[in-house]
Amino acid sequence: MISLISYLLISLVLFIVGLVVMISRKNIVAILLGIELILNAAALNFVAYSRFVTNNLDGHIFSLFIIVVAAAEAAVGLAIVIRFFQIKETIHIDEATQLRN
């Protein structure tokens, strides 16, 4: 019987993995993936909580919205990344240090 804790643990792992990816990986697409991971962690939390704790549908609905938003965000993000690639011919994050004091 899978308990709430295990769900939370998994989502926490997802979250941390996402963070680590965003911080460590130099590939911008990978960083976007990290964002996705974090969002999914949150979504998982919502579902789990609404299943085990609150017994209402708020969590489910929220997670649906999250998926939509994540998609939109990814779309915009990727579009920008593509522009970036077209200009710089690289998607290495450290190339993006033109703006600074």
């Binding site: 989502s11 979250f15 996402g18 963070l19 965003m22 911008i28 960083i31 976007l32 990290g34 964002i35 974090i38 969002l39 962690a41 949150a42 979504a43 939390n45 919502f46 789990a48 909580y49 609404s50 704790v53 609150t54 209402n56 708020d58 969590g59 609905i61 929220f62 919205f65 999250i66 938003v69 939109a72 965000e73 915009v76 993000g77 920008i80 990344v81 522009r83 970036f84 200009i87 710089k88 993006a96 033109q98 703006l99 600074r100 004091n101």
Partner: protein
């Protein structure tokens, strides 16, 4: 059931009109070719619609607060006033975008679309009454902002700005969302009203989770209003984005974020709520740090755009001091500050935008000896700078005065001192710019061209409130006070 859904649509007209405007704009934009005339038409249309929105909002201003759409959103004078400020900001930005050379002419109406979209997000955020709406508001704001900031498509800086914004925003939103999910778990609902009722009973592990996740949730708002330490994207994005976008960012998302910050604080942080202890201290520290960071960094800037960006950070630090005191007076001060800040920022960006269009750069040098090139512009700009610095008899002083007054009322003398020192620092860099404009000798003898009478009219009409509210400010204060009344 039905009337719960549609009975209150009347109060929701502004949002609806904005949405209609956005969609119509999309369609129209698809239609037009690359020539200027229709864009002007579109621009006028946009302004008209926004004007209607403004009127509707003004009509809503008197309404008693009510939670509609199953508590999804709250319509109360507070949110309405914030929406008014945002709408005015949008109108200003759109106008600026139309005249600015910083935005490619074939993208001008796209700018309007995005701006209106951000406005909608802001409205959502300002009147959000449950976590879902709030999240959606933030994301709507953010996603469109990413696009706006990368608006100069084939300039690497702009794209980079957009990308950084997107990544940073994504991370912050993600963290916030993670926090929200745990809040949902601990408090068992996403409706503010229900969550609050659960608050007092929380202890033990749940309390720990509550606090941590509330902090995470705060990241989401914090990065929107770019308070320390979530401000780091701001300078880069402001620098990379076109000037109209920068001015837009400096007003609309910030006001929306502050509004939601206020609402969240007032909803969650009440007597007996476990958050109350840490919350005030947190905001105090953040406010102090934010204004200090903003002002101190602004000193070093040579690009006036960056300077204004940092100074806006400083102003946000000032504003959120109004949250600290947790009473109507504080909110009143914030709202008044918002109104004044709107006009001052718009004028400052107008002048900067025009000069940088003319000289191709926005460094101090383009301001040197402006008094000889365009006296009206120079005098108004100088006055606005002094107003931003909080010098009487301009409205900026009254705004500052109110903030001081509320924090001193709660006997936060320490933070008052910090704010005092900060306003001296702020005065310094504003005065440096004013000095350049008035004492400096211009390199070229040429006058400032192309500043049409329309532009002058706009600037002057924006300047009138800055002066008027500095002397006869009781009516505006009353308005803000009335709006602040129903915050709880």
């Amino acid at each position: 059931m039905i009337d719960q859904l549609f009975g209150f649509l009347g109060y929701y007209v502004p949002e609806i009109i904005s949405i209609v405007l956005m969609t119509t704009l999309l369609v129209a934009e698809a239609g037009v070719k690359d020539d200027h005339a229709p864009r002007t038409k579109i621009h006028v249309y946009t302004q008209l619609m926004l004007g209607i929105v403004l009127v509707c909002l003004l009509m809503n201003l008197g309404a008693k607060p009510l939670h509609i759409f199953y508590n999804a959103v709250t319509i109360d004078p507070f949110s309405t006033l914030v929406k008014i400020i945002m709408t005015l900001g949008t109108m200003g930005a759109v106008f600026l975008s139309h005249s600015s050379k910083d935005i490619y002419s074939n993208l001008k109406s796209e700018f309007s679309i995005m701006a209106v979209g951000v406005l909608i997000g802001g409205m959502l955020l300002a009147s959000a009454n449950n976590m879902l709406t709030l999240y959606l508001g933030i994301e709507t704001l953010s996603i469109l902002s990413y696009v706006l900031s990368s608006f100069k498509r084939d300039e690497s800086t702009s794209t980079e700005a957009g990308m950084k914004y997107a990544l940073y925003g994504g991370l912050s939103a993600g963290i916030a969302l993670f926090g929200i999910s745990h809040l949902y778990g601990v408090l068992g609902s996403i409706q503010f009203v229900d969550m609050v009722t659960k608050l007092p009973g929380i202890e033990g592990v749940n309390l720990a989770i509550l606090l941590i996740s509330f902090l995470m949730f705060f990241v989401g708002i914090g990065y929107k209003i770019s308070v320390f330490p979530f401000h780091m994207w701001t300078p880069d994005v402001y620098q990379g984005s076109p000037i109209p976008v920068t001015s837009f960012f400096a007003i609309v998302p910030k006001m929306a974020g502050i509004a939601s910050l206020v609402r969240v604080s007032f909803v969650f942080v009440q007597e007996g709520s476990p958050l109350a202890i840490s919350w005030i201290g947190l905001i105090l520290v953040i406010a102090a740090m934010t204004m200090t960071v903003g002002n101190v960094t602004a000193i070093g800037q040579t690009s006036v755009k960056r300077l204004l960006a940092f100074s806006s950070i400083g102003h946000v630090g000032m504003m959120i001091l109004g949250v600290v005191v947790m009473n109507e007076a504080g909110v009143q001060a914030i709202l008044f500050y918002g109104i004044v800040y709107l006009f001052m920022t718009l004028i400052a960006f107008y002048v900067t935008s025009h000069l940088s269009d003319m000289y191709g750069t926005d460094s101090y040098d383009v301001f040197r000896g402006l008094i000889y090139k365009h006296p009206v512009m120079a005098i108004i700009m100088a006055s606005v700078l002094f107003s931003l610095a909080g010098m009487p008899p301009f409205a900026g002083f009254i705004a500052k005065f109110n903030i001081f007054s509320v924090i001193i009322q709660k006997k936060h003398y320490g933070i008052a001192l910090v704010a005092a020192i900060n306003s001296v620092i702020a005065l310094y860099y504003y005065m440096k710019l004013a000095k350049t404009m008035i004492f400096g000798t211009p390199q070229g003898e040429e006058k400032v061209l192309g500043f049409t009478t329309l532009n002058q009219a706009v600037i002057i009409s924006l300047f009138i409130p800055v002066l008027f509210l500095g002397i006869f400010w009781d009516s505006a204060m009353a308005l803000a006070g009335n709006a602040a009344l129903f915050i709880k």
